[in-house]
Amino acid sequence: MPDALALGWRQYRLERKMFWRNPSAAFFNFALPLLFLAGAGAALSGNQHQLNRLVPMIAGMSVMSTTFTALAYNIVFLRERGVLKRIRGTPLPTISYFGGVAANAVTNTALQITIIVLAGRAFFGIGWPLHWAALIVFVVVGVVCFAALGVAFAHAIPNFESTAAYVNAVFLPVVAISFYVFDSSSAPGFVRTIAEALPLKPLIDGLSGAMVTGAGLGSHLDALAVIALWGIFGLYLAIRGFSWEAARS
């Protein structure tokens, strides 16, 4: 087991190195939510009520893009390129490989949330998070949920060329409906129901409570339950349908 741990660490370091060497991945998974934050934050400057909503929305979106989007891209790319198949033929333990891959995604999420918290405090009139514990719990559960869904979703993507279309077909509508329902109290009932049933809106609720309003874990247990259920569903699909190699043409 210490061996598996050491190999997982090596895999993690390799994943970090590869991440920063790929400028487009670094941009889309990393810089994009931050640019959103900067742009919208500047536009809403002075409107504290709006800023209070914006920051947790961007934080939720960051969790989704650093895990769901990034992993779906990565897994499809590595699968279609034959990298996964090659790794499968080596003595690298599966747990070490996925540990390294997952830790890489978690690092990106942690970095982003840190930047968002710091920016919220420095530029957007939001203090330090009021509930650190709630923030950590929601980020961790959110990461597990969206990472699992990203790996599971990769199974549905037939080739690398169509990855962007598939991922955005999920990512953009989920972000749009979740932002809309979170931000507007006048959203139609059925739209609200859909958004509440998806994992992003509950995550934003939880993050908002932890970062802005001061509502702790206790007042968002239902939100946590929705995210956790999606996470279990995602893990089940991710493991069950996992394919190490491209479908034979």
């Binding site: 390799l14 190195k17 590869m18 060497r21 090659r86 033929g89 080596t90 003595p91 190490w244």
Partner: protein, 276 residues
């Protein structure tokens, strides 16, 4: 392996293959595309599970995918990719860390002829250089048994010779090698023994030289007095040539386009794969 079968739905890709490869041997699986070579090798590598039959690789069942077994084998896939932004040296160092007794990374870089590209991103490497990296990654763990699936497909002749040299040097180190190929000369050049496979069955098995000795031992071709190209098969080339040259000298003719050949593996292969 004994009586190996693999079925995909209604299609039976492997229909009863019996092969036993000795330690230190270079064994070739030779056959046309779709013969079941890759399926067979991927069962041995642990990528696929068999439908039926017995398989033992270094004394273990590959379907169990034990880490211990994977430490002792090296795999060159027909097409295996690598991270775009990794350099060969980094990849080899990373791969070496998977194995208990890896070979020296610099030595493997030299052996595979990648020193000059050792610090370039893999996406800048040519197809031939990437193939050398495939070899290098399969060798860096110092495996006892190496699987090479179509190792030189798409190579130019020079690159192919270089790959053959690598295989021979592995053989000298006492490694066991199982390679698949649809190039007859490759099987002839490398393999101690060859199994000719078609439609999931073994048609013939033996050293390439012996497989070449079929019904016809020698093949003599020439143009006769009417200018027709004649090809004759014989067990006794000396006698036939004596007869032919004698006639030609007597008639003051040249034996245009005279050639004497041993049947190549290709002849055997064509003979065997032509549906009897």
């Amino acid at each position: 392996m004994r009586d190996l079968h693999k079925r995909y739905g209604d299609y039976e890709a492997v229909r009863g293959i019996d092969i036993s490869v000795q330690r230190g041997e270079v064994f070739g699986l030779l056959g046309p595309n779709g013969a079941g070579k890759t399926t067979t090798v991927e069962i041995l590598e642990g990528y696929r599970t068999r439908t039926s039959g017995e398989v033992s690789v270094l004394g273990q069942d590959p379907a169990k995918r034990s880490i211990e077994l994977r430490r002792r084998i090296g795999i060159v896939l027909q097409s295996g990719g690598i991270y775009s932004h990794i350099t060969p040296r980094e990849a080899l160092r990373h791969w070496a860390s998977f194995y208990p007794h890896p070979r020296d990374v610099e030595e493997v870089l030299a052996l595979s002829g990648l020193q000059e590209k050792a610090d370039e991103r893999s996406r800048t490497l040519s197809g031939g250089q990437l193939r050398r990296l495939d070899f290098a990654l399969a060798l860096v763990g110092d495996p006892e048994l190496i699987f090479l699936d179509e190792p030189t497909t798409g190579f130019d002749p020079e690159a192919r010779r270089a790959a053959w040299e690598t295989v021979r040097s592995l053989q000298e180190l006492g490694k066991t090698i199982l390679l698949t190929t649809h190039y007859l000369e490759e099987a002839q050049a490398l393999a101690d023994r060859v199994a000719i496979v078609k439609d999931g069955r073994v048609l013939a098995i033996g050293p390439p030289r012996e497989l070449g000795v079929g019904a016809a031992h020698y093949r003599v071709a020439y143009r006769d007095r009417d200018g027709e190209l004649v090809e004759r098969e014989t067990d006794d080339p000396t006698g036939l040539l004596h007869e032919l040259t004698g006639e030609a000298l007597a008639e003051g003719r040249r034996l245009e386009e005279l050639s004497v050949g041993r049947p190549t593996l290709e002849d055997v292969y064509l003979e065997l794969t032509a549906d009897a």
